[in-house]
Symmetry: D2
Protein backbone atom coordinates (compact mmCIF):
# COMPACT_ATOMS: atom_id res chain seq x y z
CA UNK A 1 0.00 0.00 0.00
CA UNK A 2 2.77 2.46 0.90
CA UNK A 3 4.34 1.72 -2.52
CA UNK A 4 1.16 2.91 -4.21
CA UNK A 5 1.36 6.15 -2.21
CA UNK A 6 5.00 6.60 -3.19
CA UNK A 7 3.99 6.39 -6.84
CA UNK A 8 1.55 9.25 -6.33
CA UNK A 9 4.21 11.67 -5.08
CA UNK A 10 4.16 14.91 -7.04
CA UNK A 11 1.24 13.87 -9.22
CA UNK A 12 -1.76 16.17 -9.55
CA UNK A 13 -3.90 13.36 -8.18
CA UNK A 14 -5.84 15.24 -5.51
CA UNK A 15 -8.89 15.29 -7.74
CA UNK A 16 -8.86 11.47 -7.72
CA UNK A 17 -9.06 11.36 -3.91
CA UNK A 18 -11.77 9.13 -2.46
CA UNK A 19 -12.36 11.98 0.03
CA UNK A 20 -14.68 14.69 -1.30
CA UNK A 21 -13.23 17.08 1.26
CA UNK A 22 -9.77 15.95 0.18
CA UNK A 23 -10.58 17.08 -3.38
CA UNK A 24 -11.82 20.42 -2.06
CA UNK A 25 -8.58 20.84 -0.10
CA UNK A 26 -6.70 19.98 -3.31
CA UNK A 27 -3.46 18.87 -1.65
CA UNK A 28 -0.40 17.46 -3.40
CA UNK A 29 1.38 14.44 -1.95
CA UNK A 30 5.10 15.24 -1.65
CA UNK A 31 6.36 12.45 0.60
CA UNK A 32 5.37 8.95 1.71
CA UNK A 33 7.08 6.71 4.22
CA UNK A 34 5.74 3.88 6.35
CA UNK A 35 3.43 5.65 8.81
CA UNK A 36 4.09 9.16 7.53
CA UNK A 37 2.73 11.19 4.63
CA UNK A 38 3.56 14.74 3.56
CA UNK A 39 0.99 16.80 1.68
CA UNK A 40 1.15 20.41 0.47
CA UNK A 41 -1.88 22.69 0.31
CA UNK A 42 -2.32 26.23 -0.96
CA UNK A 43 -4.44 28.55 1.23
CA UNK A 44 -7.43 29.77 -0.80
CA UNK A 45 -9.85 32.59 0.04
CA UNK A 46 -12.60 30.22 1.20
CA UNK A 47 -10.17 28.83 3.80
CA UNK A 48 -9.85 32.17 5.65
CA UNK A 49 -11.40 33.30 8.91
CA UNK A 50 -12.63 36.86 9.57
CA UNK A 51 -9.07 37.84 10.55
CA UNK A 52 -7.98 36.95 6.98
CA UNK A 53 -5.88 34.04 8.23
CA UNK A 54 -6.22 30.30 7.66
CA UNK A 55 -9.34 29.14 9.54
CA UNK A 56 -8.46 26.87 12.46
CA UNK A 57 -11.12 24.42 11.34
CA UNK A 58 -9.65 24.20 7.85
CA UNK A 59 -6.14 23.74 9.26
CA UNK A 60 -7.62 20.89 11.29
CA UNK A 61 -9.33 19.49 8.19
CA UNK A 62 -6.03 19.44 6.29
CA UNK A 63 -4.32 17.56 9.12
CA UNK A 64 -7.28 15.23 9.74
CA UNK A 65 -7.46 14.33 6.07
CA UNK A 66 -3.73 13.56 5.91
CA UNK A 67 -3.91 11.50 9.12
CA UNK A 68 -6.82 9.51 7.70
CA UNK A 69 -4.84 8.81 4.51
CA UNK A 70 -1.83 7.81 6.59
CA UNK A 71 -3.83 5.24 8.54
CA UNK A 72 -5.20 3.95 5.22
CA UNK A 73 -1.63 3.72 3.91
CA UNK A 74 -0.82 1.19 6.65
CA UNK A 75 -2.74 -1.34 4.56
CA UNK A 76 -4.90 -2.63 7.41
CA UNK A 77 -7.88 -4.74 6.40
CA UNK A 78 -10.24 -2.91 8.74
CA UNK A 79 -11.62 0.60 8.58
CA UNK A 80 -10.50 2.98 11.35
CA UNK A 81 -12.85 5.70 12.60
CA UNK A 82 -11.57 8.86 14.28
CA UNK A 83 -12.37 8.99 18.00
CA UNK A 84 -10.91 12.40 18.77
CA UNK A 85 -8.54 15.09 17.60
CA UNK A 86 -6.76 17.65 19.75
CA UNK A 87 -5.24 20.67 18.01
CA UNK A 88 -2.95 23.54 19.05
CA UNK A 89 -2.70 26.65 16.89
CA UNK A 90 0.72 28.29 16.94
CA UNK A 91 1.14 30.70 14.03
CA UNK A 92 -1.04 32.18 11.26
CA UNK A 93 -1.01 31.27 7.58
CA UNK A 94 -2.28 33.67 4.93
CA UNK A 95 -3.93 33.73 1.52
CA UNK A 96 -1.74 32.11 -1.10
CA UNK A 97 0.62 30.49 1.40
CA UNK A 98 1.83 26.96 0.68
CA UNK A 99 1.37 24.94 3.88
CA UNK A 100 2.79 21.47 4.51
CA UNK A 101 1.05 18.78 6.58
CA UNK A 102 3.27 15.94 7.77
CA UNK A 103 1.80 13.02 9.68
CA UNK A 104 3.48 10.47 11.91
CA UNK A 105 1.94 7.31 13.34
CA UNK A 106 3.00 7.10 16.98
CA UNK A 107 1.52 3.74 17.88
CA UNK A 108 -0.45 1.42 15.63
CA UNK A 109 -2.11 -0.98 18.03
CA UNK A 110 -4.47 -3.75 17.07
CA UNK A 111 -7.58 -1.73 17.84
CA UNK A 112 -6.34 1.84 18.46
CA UNK A 113 -4.03 3.93 16.28
CA UNK A 114 -2.43 7.05 17.77
CA UNK A 115 -1.16 9.54 15.20
CA UNK A 116 0.08 13.12 15.07
CA UNK A 117 0.27 15.73 12.34
CA UNK A 118 2.08 19.03 12.06
CA UNK A 119 1.15 21.84 9.67
CA UNK A 120 4.10 24.06 8.77
CA UNK A 121 5.17 26.91 6.56
CA UNK A 122 7.73 26.21 3.84
CA UNK A 123 10.41 27.74 6.11
CA UNK A 124 9.64 25.05 8.72
CA UNK A 125 7.78 27.26 11.19
CA UNK A 126 4.87 25.40 12.74
CA UNK A 127 1.32 26.65 12.08
CA UNK A 128 -0.56 23.97 14.04
CA UNK A 129 -0.03 20.57 15.64
CA UNK A 130 -2.52 17.87 16.38
CA UNK A 131 -2.91 14.40 17.82
CA UNK A 132 -5.66 11.93 17.02
CA UNK A 133 -6.85 8.49 18.05
CA UNK A 134 -8.68 6.12 15.70
CA UNK A 135 -10.47 2.87 16.46
CA UNK A 136 -10.87 -0.26 14.34
CA UNK A 137 -14.45 -0.42 13.14
CA UNK A 138 -16.47 -3.17 11.56
CA UNK A 139 -18.58 -2.20 8.56
CA UNK B 1 -23.84 43.05 20.14
CA UNK B 2 -26.02 40.08 21.11
CA UNK B 3 -29.05 42.12 19.99
CA UNK B 4 -27.57 42.42 16.53
CA UNK B 5 -27.15 38.63 16.44
CA UNK B 6 -30.75 38.13 17.56
CA UNK B 7 -31.89 40.23 14.61
CA UNK B 8 -30.05 37.90 12.23
CA UNK B 9 -31.94 34.79 13.39
CA UNK B 10 -33.47 32.95 10.47
CA UNK B 11 -32.09 35.35 7.85
CA UNK B 12 -30.16 34.01 4.89
CA UNK B 13 -27.22 36.11 5.99
CA UNK B 14 -24.46 33.52 5.83
CA UNK B 15 -23.20 35.04 2.60
CA UNK B 16 -22.63 38.31 4.46
CA UNK B 17 -20.36 36.59 7.02
CA UNK B 18 -16.97 38.25 7.59
CA UNK B 19 -15.58 34.69 7.59
CA UNK B 20 -14.85 33.35 4.11
CA UNK B 21 -15.00 29.84 5.50
CA UNK B 22 -18.26 30.79 7.20
CA UNK B 23 -19.73 31.63 3.80
CA UNK B 24 -18.51 28.33 2.41
CA UNK B 25 -20.15 26.50 5.33
CA UNK B 26 -23.32 28.49 4.58
CA UNK B 27 -24.91 28.14 8.03
CA UNK B 28 -28.15 29.72 9.20
CA UNK B 29 -28.34 31.33 12.64
CA UNK B 30 -31.35 29.93 14.49
CA UNK B 31 -30.70 31.03 18.08
CA UNK B 32 -28.73 33.67 19.98
CA UNK B 33 -28.39 34.12 23.71
CA UNK B 34 -25.66 35.75 25.78
CA UNK B 35 -22.70 33.41 25.33
CA UNK B 36 -24.51 30.88 23.13
CA UNK B 37 -25.31 30.76 19.42
CA UNK B 38 -27.15 28.08 17.44
CA UNK B 39 -26.39 27.62 13.75
CA UNK B 40 -27.75 25.05 11.28
CA UNK B 41 -25.72 23.66 8.41
CA UNK B 42 -26.61 21.29 5.58
CA UNK B 43 -24.04 18.57 4.78
CA UNK B 44 -22.90 18.98 1.17
CA UNK B 45 -20.89 16.54 -0.96
CA UNK B 46 -17.62 18.43 -0.53
CA UNK B 47 -17.97 17.99 3.25
CA UNK B 48 -17.74 14.19 3.06
CA UNK B 49 -14.84 11.88 3.89
CA UNK B 50 -14.04 8.68 1.96
CA UNK B 51 -16.58 6.80 4.09
CA UNK B 52 -19.29 9.11 2.71
CA UNK B 53 -19.86 10.69 6.10
CA UNK B 54 -19.32 14.24 7.34
CA UNK B 55 -15.54 14.83 7.46
CA UNK B 56 -14.30 15.24 11.03
CA UNK B 57 -12.34 18.30 9.99
CA UNK B 58 -15.44 19.94 8.53
CA UNK B 59 -17.47 19.11 11.65
CA UNK B 60 -14.68 20.83 13.59
CA UNK B 61 -14.76 23.79 11.21
CA UNK B 62 -18.51 24.22 11.75
CA UNK B 63 -18.07 24.21 15.53
CA UNK B 64 -14.93 26.38 15.45
CA UNK B 65 -16.66 28.97 13.29
CA UNK B 66 -19.69 29.12 15.60
CA UNK B 67 -17.45 29.37 18.68
CA UNK B 68 -15.53 32.24 17.07
CA UNK B 69 -18.80 34.06 16.33
CA UNK B 70 -19.95 33.45 19.88
CA UNK B 71 -16.84 35.03 21.35
CA UNK B 72 -17.34 37.95 18.96
CA UNK B 73 -20.96 38.23 20.14
CA UNK B 74 -19.70 38.96 23.67
CA UNK B 75 -18.89 42.46 22.42
CA UNK B 76 -15.34 42.52 23.77
CA UNK B 77 -13.13 45.30 22.45
CA UNK B 78 -10.18 42.97 21.88
CA UNK B 79 -9.68 40.24 19.31
CA UNK B 80 -9.45 36.68 20.67
CA UNK B 81 -7.27 34.09 18.92
CA UNK B 82 -7.90 30.36 19.23
CA UNK B 83 -5.22 28.58 21.27
CA UNK B 84 -6.53 25.04 20.95
CA UNK B 85 -9.54 22.91 20.17
CA UNK B 86 -10.22 19.38 21.39
CA UNK B 87 -12.90 17.38 19.58
CA UNK B 88 -14.65 14.05 20.16
CA UNK B 89 -16.54 12.37 17.33
CA UNK B 90 -19.57 10.39 18.45
CA UNK B 91 -21.90 9.66 15.53
CA UNK B 92 -21.87 10.05 11.74
CA UNK B 93 -23.79 12.61 9.69
CA UNK B 94 -24.57 12.03 6.03
CA UNK B 95 -25.12 13.90 2.75
CA UNK B 96 -28.11 16.21 2.97
CA UNK B 97 -28.41 16.03 6.76
CA UNK B 98 -29.23 19.21 8.63
CA UNK B 99 -26.79 19.47 11.53
CA UNK B 100 -27.04 21.93 14.42
CA UNK B 101 -24.07 23.54 16.17
CA UNK B 102 -24.79 25.05 19.58
CA UNK B 103 -22.06 26.88 21.47
CA UNK B 104 -21.80 27.74 25.15
CA UNK B 105 -19.25 30.02 26.79
CA UNK B 106 -18.08 28.27 29.97
CA UNK B 107 -15.83 30.98 31.37
CA UNK B 108 -15.10 34.38 29.88
CA UNK B 109 -12.05 35.55 31.76
CA UNK B 110 -10.19 38.78 31.12
CA UNK B 111 -7.54 37.14 28.97
CA UNK B 112 -8.79 33.57 28.35
CA UNK B 113 -12.21 32.46 27.13
CA UNK B 114 -13.20 28.80 27.53
CA UNK B 115 -16.04 27.69 25.28
CA UNK B 116 -17.69 24.47 24.15
CA UNK B 117 -19.77 23.51 21.13
CA UNK B 118 -21.92 20.51 20.35
CA UNK B 119 -22.91 19.39 16.86
CA UNK B 120 -26.19 17.45 16.79
CA UNK B 121 -28.71 15.88 14.50
CA UNK B 122 -32.20 17.40 14.40
CA UNK B 123 -33.40 14.57 16.69
CA UNK B 124 -30.91 15.76 19.34
CA UNK B 125 -28.37 12.95 18.92
CA UNK B 126 -24.82 14.26 19.27
CA UNK B 127 -22.49 14.06 16.27
CA UNK B 128 -19.44 15.72 17.86
CA UNK B 129 -18.46 17.79 20.89
CA UNK B 130 -15.58 20.16 21.33
CA UNK B 131 -13.92 22.53 23.76
CA UNK B 132 -11.73 25.47 22.88
CA UNK B 133 -9.64 28.13 24.59
CA UNK B 134 -9.05 31.58 23.11
CA UNK B 135 -6.66 34.30 24.23
CA UNK B 136 -7.00 38.09 24.06
CA UNK B 137 -4.68 39.38 21.37
CA UNK B 138 -3.45 42.84 20.50
CA UNK B 139 -3.52 43.79 16.83
CA UNK C 1 -23.94 -2.52 39.78
CA UNK C 2 -25.27 1.03 40.12
CA UNK C 3 -27.31 -0.17 43.11
CA UNK C 4 -24.10 -1.22 44.82
CA UNK C 5 -22.67 2.26 44.25
CA UNK C 6 -25.83 3.85 45.64
CA UNK C 7 -25.34 1.86 48.84
CA UNK C 8 -21.85 3.33 49.23
CA UNK C 9 -23.07 6.94 49.23
CA UNK C 10 -21.76 8.83 52.24
CA UNK C 11 -19.80 5.89 53.60
CA UNK C 12 -16.14 6.32 54.47
CA UNK C 13 -15.33 3.59 51.98
CA UNK C 14 -12.55 5.28 50.07
CA UNK C 15 -10.00 3.14 51.86
CA UNK C 16 -11.70 0.06 50.39
CA UNK C 17 -11.22 1.32 46.82
CA UNK C 18 -9.61 -1.16 44.41
CA UNK C 19 -7.64 1.86 43.15
CA UNK C 20 -4.50 2.58 45.18
CA UNK C 21 -4.52 6.11 43.85
CA UNK C 22 -8.21 6.29 44.75
CA UNK C 23 -7.32 5.54 48.36
CA UNK C 24 -4.62 8.21 48.30
CA UNK C 25 -7.15 10.72 46.94
CA UNK C 26 -9.51 9.61 49.74
CA UNK C 27 -12.75 10.75 48.11
CA UNK C 28 -16.25 10.28 49.46
CA UNK C 29 -19.06 9.15 47.13
CA UNK C 30 -21.99 11.53 47.49
CA UNK C 31 -24.12 10.67 44.49
CA UNK C 32 -24.68 7.79 42.05
CA UNK C 33 -26.95 7.67 39.04
CA UNK C 34 -26.80 5.56 35.90
CA UNK C 35 -23.73 6.93 34.09
CA UNK C 36 -22.91 9.60 36.66
CA UNK C 37 -21.07 9.57 39.98
CA UNK C 38 -20.36 12.42 42.37
CA UNK C 39 -17.33 12.27 44.64
CA UNK C 40 -16.01 14.83 47.13
CA UNK C 41 -12.32 15.31 47.87
CA UNK C 42 -10.48 17.53 50.33
CA UNK C 43 -7.38 19.32 49.03
CA UNK C 44 -4.35 18.24 51.06
CA UNK C 45 -0.88 19.79 51.13
CA UNK C 46 0.65 17.10 48.92
CA UNK C 47 -1.90 18.02 46.23
CA UNK C 48 -0.55 21.58 45.82
CA UNK C 49 1.63 23.05 43.09
CA UNK C 50 4.35 25.67 43.71
CA UNK C 51 1.69 28.41 43.52
CA UNK C 52 0.00 26.81 46.56
CA UNK C 53 -3.04 25.81 44.51
CA UNK C 54 -4.44 22.39 43.59
CA UNK C 55 -1.97 20.80 41.15
CA UNK C 56 -3.49 20.43 37.67
CA UNK C 57 -2.28 16.84 37.53
CA UNK C 58 -4.00 15.99 40.80
CA UNK C 59 -7.22 17.68 39.65
CA UNK C 60 -6.95 15.47 36.57
CA UNK C 61 -6.31 12.41 38.74
CA UNK C 62 -9.47 13.09 40.76
CA UNK C 63 -11.56 13.37 37.61
CA UNK C 64 -9.88 10.43 35.88
CA UNK C 65 -10.45 8.21 38.90
CA UNK C 66 -14.13 9.15 39.09
CA UNK C 67 -14.58 8.60 35.36
CA UNK C 68 -12.98 5.17 35.64
CA UNK C 69 -15.35 4.25 38.49
CA UNK C 70 -18.28 5.55 36.47
CA UNK C 71 -17.44 3.32 33.52
CA UNK C 72 -17.08 0.42 35.96
CA UNK C 73 -20.51 1.29 37.41
CA UNK C 74 -22.08 0.62 34.00
CA UNK C 75 -21.66 -3.07 34.78
CA UNK C 76 -20.03 -3.98 31.49
CA UNK C 77 -18.37 -7.39 31.35
CA UNK C 78 -15.25 -6.05 29.67
CA UNK C 79 -12.48 -3.86 31.02
CA UNK C 80 -12.20 -0.38 29.48
CA UNK C 81 -8.80 1.29 29.13
CA UNK C 82 -8.41 5.06 28.91
CA UNK C 83 -7.30 6.22 25.46
CA UNK C 84 -7.04 9.93 26.17
CA UNK C 85 -8.10 12.72 28.47
CA UNK C 86 -8.38 16.40 27.63
CA UNK C 87 -8.57 18.88 30.51
CA UNK C 88 -9.27 22.61 30.84
CA UNK C 89 -8.32 24.45 34.01
CA UNK C 90 -10.66 27.30 34.90
CA UNK C 91 -10.24 28.35 38.52
CA UNK C 92 -7.91 27.57 41.45
CA UNK C 93 -8.68 25.45 44.51
CA UNK C 94 -6.73 25.84 47.74
CA UNK C 95 -5.54 23.87 50.74
CA UNK C 96 -8.46 22.52 52.75
CA UNK C 97 -11.05 23.18 50.04
CA UNK C 98 -13.73 20.55 49.48
CA UNK C 99 -13.92 19.93 45.74
CA UNK C 100 -16.63 17.95 43.96
CA UNK C 101 -16.08 15.77 40.89
CA UNK C 102 -19.20 14.88 38.92
CA UNK C 103 -18.97 12.57 35.92
CA UNK C 104 -21.39 12.06 33.05
CA UNK C 105 -21.25 9.35 30.41
CA UNK C 106 -21.96 11.02 27.08
CA UNK C 107 -22.03 7.96 24.84
CA UNK C 108 -21.50 4.36 25.85
CA UNK C 109 -20.86 2.58 22.58
CA UNK C 110 -20.02 -1.08 22.21
CA UNK C 111 -16.28 -0.49 21.99
CA UNK C 112 -15.79 3.20 22.88
CA UNK C 113 -17.14 5.09 25.88
CA UNK C 114 -17.07 8.89 25.84
CA UNK C 115 -17.34 10.51 29.25
CA UNK C 116 -16.90 13.94 30.84
CA UNK C 117 -16.18 15.12 34.36
CA UNK C 118 -16.38 18.49 36.02
CA UNK C 119 -14.54 19.48 39.19
CA UNK C 120 -16.29 22.24 41.13
CA UNK C 121 -16.20 24.20 44.35
CA UNK C 122 -19.04 23.71 46.81
CA UNK C 123 -20.57 26.98 45.54
CA UNK C 124 -20.83 25.44 42.07
CA UNK C 125 -17.97 27.36 40.45
CA UNK C 126 -16.01 25.17 38.06
CA UNK C 127 -12.36 24.38 38.81
CA UNK C 128 -11.68 22.12 35.83
CA UNK C 129 -13.49 20.19 33.12
CA UNK C 130 -12.38 17.17 31.18
CA UNK C 131 -13.41 14.70 28.52
CA UNK C 132 -12.11 11.18 28.08
CA UNK C 133 -12.46 8.24 25.72
CA UNK C 134 -12.06 4.62 26.82
CA UNK C 135 -11.82 1.47 24.71
CA UNK C 136 -13.01 -2.06 25.45
CA UNK C 137 -9.99 -4.21 26.17
CA UNK C 138 -9.52 -7.94 26.39
CA UNK C 139 -7.51 -9.22 29.31
CA UNK D 1 18.08 29.83 35.30
CA UNK D 2 18.78 26.81 33.08
CA UNK D 3 22.30 26.71 34.59
CA UNK D 4 20.77 26.31 38.02
CA UNK D 5 18.74 23.36 36.74
CA UNK D 6 21.83 21.80 35.19
CA UNK D 7 23.50 21.91 38.59
CA UNK D 8 20.63 19.90 40.07
CA UNK D 9 21.06 16.99 37.66
CA UNK D 10 21.37 13.72 39.52
CA UNK D 11 20.99 15.27 42.95
CA UNK D 12 18.40 13.91 45.36
CA UNK D 13 16.78 17.33 45.40
CA UNK D 14 13.17 16.35 44.82
CA UNK D 15 12.41 16.95 48.48
CA UNK D 16 13.48 20.56 48.02
CA UNK D 17 10.93 21.12 45.24
CA UNK D 18 8.67 24.16 45.67
CA UNK D 19 5.87 21.86 44.46
CA UNK D 20 4.31 19.77 47.23
CA UNK D 21 3.03 17.36 44.60
CA UNK D 22 6.52 17.37 43.10
CA UNK D 23 7.88 16.13 46.41
CA UNK D 24 5.22 13.44 46.57
CA UNK D 25 6.16 12.33 43.05
CA UNK D 26 9.80 12.29 44.18
CA UNK D 27 11.36 12.60 40.74
CA UNK D 28 15.07 12.92 39.95
CA UNK D 29 16.26 15.45 37.38
CA UNK D 30 18.49 13.69 34.86
CA UNK D 31 18.73 16.22 32.05
CA UNK D 32 18.29 19.95 31.47
CA UNK D 33 18.52 21.88 28.23
CA UNK D 34 17.00 25.19 27.20
CA UNK D 35 13.27 24.41 26.98
CA UNK D 36 13.58 20.72 27.90
CA UNK D 37 13.91 18.86 31.18
CA UNK D 38 14.20 15.14 31.83
CA UNK D 39 12.98 13.68 35.12
CA UNK D 40 12.87 10.07 36.32
CA UNK D 41 10.18 8.72 38.62
CA UNK D 42 9.67 5.33 40.24
CA UNK D 43 6.13 3.94 40.19
CA UNK D 44 4.95 3.41 43.77
CA UNK D 45 1.89 1.49 44.98
CA UNK D 46 -0.16 4.62 45.61
CA UNK D 47 0.31 5.53 41.92
CA UNK D 48 -1.58 2.45 40.68
CA UNK D 49 -5.11 2.15 39.31
CA UNK D 50 -7.41 -0.84 39.96
CA UNK D 51 -5.75 -2.69 37.04
CA UNK D 52 -2.44 -2.52 38.95
CA UNK D 53 -0.92 -0.19 36.37
CA UNK D 54 0.25 3.43 36.62
CA UNK D 55 -2.87 5.60 37.07
CA UNK D 56 -3.48 7.83 34.06
CA UNK D 57 -3.98 10.79 36.37
CA UNK D 58 -0.63 10.23 38.05
CA UNK D 59 1.10 9.84 34.67
CA UNK D 60 -0.47 13.19 33.79
CA UNK D 61 0.69 14.68 37.09
CA UNK D 62 4.29 13.60 36.41
CA UNK D 63 4.22 15.21 32.96
CA UNK D 64 2.35 18.32 34.14
CA UNK D 65 4.83 18.87 36.96
CA UNK D 66 7.80 18.54 34.61
CA UNK D 67 6.20 20.88 32.06
CA UNK D 68 5.60 23.46 34.81
CA UNK D 69 9.24 23.25 35.89
CA UNK D 70 10.34 23.57 32.28
CA UNK D 71 8.38 26.78 31.79
CA UNK D 72 9.89 28.04 35.06
CA UNK D 73 13.36 27.13 33.75
CA UNK D 74 12.88 29.60 30.88
CA UNK D 75 13.54 32.34 33.43
CA UNK D 76 10.54 34.47 32.50
CA UNK D 77 9.65 37.22 34.97
CA UNK D 78 5.95 36.38 34.91
CA UNK D 79 4.07 33.40 36.28
CA UNK D 80 2.43 31.10 33.71
CA UNK D 81 -0.81 29.29 34.55
CA UNK D 82 -1.84 26.09 32.78
CA UNK D 83 -4.83 26.57 30.49
CA UNK D 84 -5.22 22.99 29.33
CA UNK D 85 -3.55 19.65 28.96
CA UNK D 86 -4.36 16.92 26.46
CA UNK D 87 -3.01 13.43 27.12
CA UNK D 88 -2.85 10.17 25.16
CA UNK D 89 -2.15 6.90 26.96
CA UNK D 90 -0.21 4.38 24.90
CA UNK D 91 1.28 1.67 27.10
CA UNK D 92 1.10 0.57 30.75
CA UNK D 93 3.74 1.03 33.43
CA UNK D 94 3.86 -1.17 36.51
CA UNK D 95 4.86 -1.11 40.18
CA UNK D 96 8.56 -0.45 40.59
CA UNK D 97 9.10 0.70 37.00
CA UNK D 98 11.39 3.65 36.42
CA UNK D 99 9.59 6.02 34.05
CA UNK D 100 11.14 9.02 32.31
CA UNK D 101 9.34 12.28 31.57
CA UNK D 102 10.95 14.50 28.94
CA UNK D 103 9.49 17.89 28.15
CA UNK D 104 9.98 20.10 25.10
CA UNK D 105 8.85 23.69 24.67
CA UNK D 106 7.33 23.97 21.21
CA UNK D 107 6.64 27.70 21.12
CA UNK D 108 7.32 30.22 23.85
CA UNK D 109 5.27 33.24 22.82
CA UNK D 110 4.97 36.44 24.79
CA UNK D 111 1.68 35.45 26.42
CA UNK D 112 1.19 31.75 25.51
CA UNK D 113 3.65 28.90 25.90
CA UNK D 114 2.97 25.61 24.09
CA UNK D 115 4.82 22.62 25.47
CA UNK D 116 4.78 18.84 25.15
CA UNK D 117 5.94 16.01 27.37
CA UNK D 118 6.49 12.33 26.77
CA UNK D 119 6.57 9.66 29.47
CA UNK D 120 8.63 6.62 28.51
CA UNK D 121 10.02 3.37 29.80
CA UNK D 122 13.79 3.05 30.15
CA UNK D 123 13.83 1.09 26.86
CA UNK D 124 12.38 4.13 25.09
CA UNK D 125 8.84 2.79 24.65
CA UNK D 126 6.26 5.54 25.15
CA UNK D 127 3.80 5.28 28.04
CA UNK D 128 1.95 8.57 27.47
CA UNK D 129 2.25 11.83 25.56
CA UNK D 130 0.76 15.18 26.31
CA UNK D 131 0.52 18.75 25.12
CA UNK D 132 -0.23 21.78 27.24
CA UNK D 133 -0.78 25.52 26.85
CA UNK D 134 0.07 28.04 29.56
CA UNK D 135 -0.79 31.73 29.78
CA UNK D 136 1.16 34.62 31.33
CA UNK D 137 -0.59 35.65 34.52
CA UNK D 138 -0.24 38.68 36.73
CA UNK D 139 -0.01 38.04 40.45
Amino acid sequence: MIDWFKQQIGKESAQLSPSFTGRWLNGKLTGAEEGSLTVEFIVREEMLNPGQILHGGIATTMMDDVMGMTVFSLGRKDFFATINVSVDFLRPARLGDTVIAKSQVIRAGDSIINITCELSHTDGKTIARCTSNLVKTKF
